[in-house]
Amino acid sequence: MADSQLLTDVRALVGREYGRVYAWDEVNAPMIRQWCEIMGVDNPLYTDPLFAANSVQDGLVAPPAMLQVWCMEGFHLNNYAPGSTTENPYEVLKLIESYGYGSVVAVNSELTFKRNVRPGEKLYYTTRLDSVGDEKTTGLGTGFFVTLVMSYFVEHKSGDEEVGELLFRVFKFRPANPKAAEAAPAKVETAPVVKRPKPGMSDDTRFFWEGCDAGKLLIQRCTQCQTLRHPPAPVCIECHSFDWDSVQASGRASLYSFVIMHYPEVAPFDHPNPIGLIELEEGVRLVAGLVGVKREELSIGMPLQLEFKTFDGELTLPLFRALSLPAAE
């Protein structure tokens, strides 16, 4: 049961508004261009003035998902733009922590937009402690869901205009076991949802990933000598022909080797993380995650069946499931 004094102190903070955090710079083209490059965004609406001028936007706009970026601290910790509040919008977390809820994990980061922002506009945000839920117990441990709402404004002489909002929710908890505590990110201010790393793709390999998107595991085949190859390459290792197509793997496979990753615990992966070197029945190997397997039952040579899973709504990966076990994980 939560301490009654804690509940009283926390409730007193709910609804509190925290002062402005200003952007270091006005919305600007160089920052937009670099962000797009890093994130792999190639929409010319953000970077091509001519294209943007002829679009319904009638000129360049910043990518909406950059909203949070403009008001971030500098390279150094807590290096906020001049004039920013010195209040700590996360003070409630310190308060909860003082009652022994030492761990934190970010659970939601949701952006909503009222309009696009444009180069030249200057932003700031204010923070409101929206809610602190009742004490809850999850797989991680026991604690409180804390929701903060950051409102983003564009400064105008005629009065500031709200352009968007960030809902940020964390779970501040006392871990069910110490291992789970280590797994949780320690720093909430910079804990956006971490996605699976996307593979680099080239003209030699794109067909494989497009196949995954379509639910097909494709193996590259030399059309000259029919040799199958993985990983894909521009030329046949046997006859050096540049001509190739692909065949769809049956999905039946066996475990050639495996590891179980424990450390370092890098987001967004679950740990322990079993990963296999998979030998497809067609004879080529690939590396893929293992699902539905128990540690004590993992053994080289065990039969596996292909399945696909889409991560973060955008990356489809082949995974392999132990055939001898029921489908439930």
Partner: protein, 392 residues
Amino acid sequence: MTQSSLSGSAAIVGLGATEFSKNSGRTELRLALEATLAALKDAGIDPSEVEGFSSYSVDKVPEYEIARLLGCKDVKFFSQVPHGGGAACAPIMHAAMAVATGVAKVVVVYRAMNERSWYRFGSGSYGFASTPIFENVNYGWYMPHGLHTPASWVGMFAQRYMHTYGATSEDFGRVAVAVRDFAATNPAAFFYGKPITLEEHQASRWICEPLHLLDCCQESDGAVAMVITSAERAKDLRQKPVTIKAGSQGITSGQQIMTSFYRDDITGLPEMGVVAKELYRQSGLGPEALQTAIIYDHFTPFVLPQLEEFGLCERGEAKEFIRAGHHARGGKFPINTHGGQLGEAYIHGMNGVAEAVRQVRGTAVNQVDSVENVLVTAGTGVPTSGLILGTA
């Protein structure tokens, strides 16, 4: 009778190093210069005489800056060998080739790094981008699944090796225990005075099954440098010459960087086999002519197939070699007498070359008797390299 113009042409005549630590507290450039100046002083050669440099990736200290600060005026040879620890022996080979061909009379090789305090190779977060250059595309087969650390890549080979030959985690542990025993009596080692037991190895936490924490080398800060010149000049210098009897790099079929998972068999290290064959060819020596070796030990499992590739034991029988304690103190073929990268420090293999130099000079803290020839190997699982160093 030697078999090549490289063998015996050049010698290591100077050796320098910084202390090895977890946080050097100074720049890599400074570490490189401290080690280089110490090596030149050890050799009794003036910095202005240096005509060549060699290091290897991912050393961030450029040779031109060292040359500028040393006051070199006539530098005609410089190389930086790719593939990290796999290159650890290659700069000495490159230097020997430059000396043997007369391109450069004095060459400095160095490796300086604040690997532990500035960046960490085992972090699992390397920020590969989406540009379709080969490296990004290649790691795309592994990173999305979370197979993203050197330990995880080595683990995949190790699991198959165990399955095929019946080696066990305890066999890997026996490698760790032996090198930590040597480290315990090496004052330069990070783990000086801190031996481990096999039970402690087995009880250490998993990093990536089948690898325990104590199967994995340290991460370290430090620098090592050496001076190479002709065997002829070496005779007149102040240190006992350490002759470069053979040097080779190695790439072979199905070669990748840490992920050569697609070969018919993944229980060997065939690129090290290429190196072994060439080292023996150049030197005219065989395994029986070696008294000790520095076997690259970033992770214990890869020590075993290296012993096999060099013919120090039969294929699949390294576990018997290890169980008999041949590799340990008092054994018939002690290896990694400085404590290895598990015990002394992880200076990307260059500290292992340094130990080979000391063994040939007869100045090692854990000196092996009557050393004439020492094998040194470089990083495994990647394009690699090796050396045989010996008495003149």
